[in-house]
């Protein structure tokens, strides 16, 4: 089953394998050595410099831990804080969990192929850490668990591996922020995430990216959803970044399993964002929805969406809308694949500008052209995400609002 030798062998063979999409990152030009940081007690997190706190807040990490069920905080390569307040929910560093608990091995590299490309290979061969978050059977959390992956050291390649497990009948919400310290410019983040949503469980995972201008980011995530399970995957990225390429994939393997992907992207000049979403609907009654909203202020954005219907009575929809505000390219590539009779799949895609008719309508209610435009843009970005607890929903709205102010 779990063979480190086999994984290592595969990884070694893939160290030079380029990814299918995105520009190639020369990993050898980055440093992967460990960076020691002191473990912080709860009150010490609150005492970190204001400027850094601000970066963390922008990524959804609340240093006061208010309204949170638990925290995982990794700085560079080192876990600086990790705890859970919520009964039935475990939060552990992955390296420690692999040593302590045999069950963790059942999930490690089970969904993401270690030899997918050089990034997955590197994440195996030079793993720093990452989190294991597990909701025990039947446990329900309302407050989200927060996880923050923070980069501070210039020119670092951060390799993390996360395992998220929602056991049968559980409900788990995670808000995860990735950010760089204010002075940092260049680095790489490679993040492997494997999600396991068991029978009747519900998992929401909200990822907020807050990078630096010369950062390259390569997340690799795959989810597996069993019968009646629900997986909600939200992604927000509105800050400058050199390049991001990701194509999160979900396999709906049980009857009536559901997955929803929502992404809100604002691309700034010099950014190359290749962001996709792929959902396999493998059994009866499965449902999938991908909603992508992107704005280009001069970035090159590629939105890929791929829905694969392999069983009858499935329903899947892909909605991809792009606004070109000031230059750049938005390339929308929706793809639908029906393999049997009885699938119901659709997509709508649009790339355009802010409609003058809408601006005029709002101006006739008494606001200026600039206010009208930003109101429309804000509306465009406020995706109605279903199935989230109210506090998390507000959190996402706030994150969008905050980034919106800077981005527009």
């Amino acid at each position: 089953m779990y063979s480190l030798e086999e994984l290592e062998q595969k990884a070694r063979q893939a160290v030079d394998k380029k990814a299918t999409f995105g520009d190639d990152v020369d990993l050898d030009s980055f440093d992967r050595s460990f960076v020691p940081h002191k473990y912080l007690a709860e009150e010490e997190i609150c005492a970190i410099p204001q400027e850094e706190q601000q970066r963390l807040i922008m990524s959804g990490l609340d240093v006061t831990d208010a309204g949170r069920g638990g925290t995982y905080f990794q700085k560079d390569t080192t876990v600086v804080h990790c705890h859970s307040d919520e009964e039935g929910i475990e939060v552990m560093p992955v390296t420690e969990a692999l040593k302590k608990h045999d069950w963790v091995k059942e999930y490690f590299w089970k969904l993401v192929p270690v030899d997918q490309d050089k990034y997955t290979a590197s994440a195996f061969l030079d793993l720093h850490d990452g989190y294991v978050i597990r909701a025990l059977p039947g446990s329900k959390s309302i407050y989200p668990i927060q996880a923050c992956l923070y980069l501070d050291k210039e020119n670092l390649q951060q390799n993390v591996h996360n395992l998220i497990i929602a056991e049968e009948g559980s409900e788990l919400h995670i808000i995860t922020g990735c950010a760089t310290s204010p002075h940092m410019k260049r680095g790489v983040h490679v993040g492997i995430s494997e999600f396991f949503v068991k029978k009747g469980a519900k998992l929401s995972f909200t990822m907020i990216h807050n990078w630096a201008e010369e950062m390259s980011v390569r997340p690799r995530s795959v989810a597996r959803v069993e019968e009646g399970g629900v997986f909600i995957n939200n992604y927000i990225c509105m800050k400058p970044v050199r390049s991001i390429q990701m194509y999160p994939t979900t396999h709906l393997v049980g009857d009536n399993a559901a997955a929803m992907f929502y992404s809100v992207i604002v691309g700034n000049p010099g950014s190359y964002l290749d962001i996709g979403g792929r959902i396999y609907l493998k059994n009866r009654g499965c449902r999938a929805e991908i909603v992508q909203r992107s704005i280009s202020n001069g970035a090159h954005i590629i939105n890929r969406g791929h829905l694969i219907g392999e069983a009858p009575d499935i329903k899947a929809h892909l909605e991809c809308k792009g606004l070109l505000l000031s230059g750049g390219i938005i390339d929308s590539i929706p793809q639908l694949e029906g393999h049997v009779e009885g699938v119901d799949m659709s997509h709508e895609a649009a790339v355009g500008k802010v409609a003058q008719e809408e601006i005029n309508y709002l101006m006739s209610r008494g606001i200026t052209e600039e206010e009208a435009t930003s109101t429309i843009v804000r509306g465009f970005l406020s995706v109605d995400i279903k199935g989230l607890p109210a506090p998390l929903k507000q959190e996402i709205d706030r994150a969008i609002d905050r980034s919106n102010k800077d981005a527009i």
Partner: protein, 252 residues
């Protein structure tokens, strides 16, 4: 007071309105009749300030200010508002938020929506999937929140079912201060009438609105020319019997 003098308006190089003269005094509501394509909506959009309607000649004055070339939002700030026939959908903007924009402050949207039976729509995106009648109620609600002094209504009855017609008609009468005077008011009726400030310009095809709003004046817009100012009911009857073309002859 709204004064339009010798107005000529072009849209995409085509002359739509010619030699328009119109005067609406505080407290007055006018009704605009005319066949499809005669320029009624163009006149309203020009008064509101839509930039694609280019004024080639003439002048629009509102409350003593020349607004002929003022942008939309400045006219709104001066107290002009419009209820549209087919307004655009604004995705992601809740009707509730739109009401705050109209009112220029945070308002009790529920309270305001109650009389229009529109509470259930407050958390829906503005105009998204609204039926004809729902659009009319949404527009009226926005106008109520904005509370302008000059209100332009583009076919407020179109697409409205019988049940909601009374609701819409009575609300328009109320915002235009054209409700029947209430007994028990300390001021005499004549004084109440005299103190009215709101002005209205209503486009109608069906004339239903006349059953609810006692309009002061009717006008027919025909081929871009305003004709036949007079009693709105008489004009409407004339159009019904003889058609627009015959009816405008009376003044030409």
């Amino acid at each position: 007071m709204l004064i339009i003098e010798d107005l000529q308006v072009e849209l995409a190089g085509r002359m739509l309105l010619k030699d328009i003269d119109l005067e609406i005094r505080p407290g007055e509501t006018h009704v605009l009749f005319g066949p499809n394509g005669s320029g009624k909506t163009s006149l309203l959009m020009t008064i509101m300030g839509y930039p694609q309607y280019v004024v080639r000649k003439g002048k629009i004055t509102f409350k003593g200010t020349d607004i002929t070339h003022a942008p939309l939002n400045e006219r709104a700030a001066l107290g002009i508002g419009m209820s549209y026939q087919r307004p655009p959908t604004i995705n992601g903007l809740k009707t509730r938020q739109m009401i705050d924009i109209c009112a220029r402050r945070k308002v009790d949207a529920e309270e305001m929506a109650r009389s229009l039976n529109f509470e259930d729509f407050l958390d829906r995106d503005v105009n998204a999937g609204f039926s004809g009648g729902e659009i009319k109620r949404s527009e009226l609600l926005q106008l109520k929140a904005q509370d302008p002094d000059l209100m332009l209504f583009d076919e407020p009855e179109s697409g409205v079912d019988i049940e909601n017609m009374a609701l819409i008609g009575n609300t328009i009468a109320q915002v235009l201060q054209k409700e029947s005077p209430k007994a028990g008011n300390a001021k005499p009726v004549a004084r109440q009438w005299k103190e009215r400030t709101k002005m209205g310009l209503i486009i109608t095809h069906t004339g239903y609105i006349l059953d609810y709003v006692p309009a002061d004046k009717g006008q027919v817009l025909y081929n871009g020319v305003l004709a036949c100012a007079g009693n709105p009911r008489e004009i409407f009857q004339c159009i019904g019997r003889l058609g627009y073309e015959e009816c405008v002859k009376c003044t030409v």
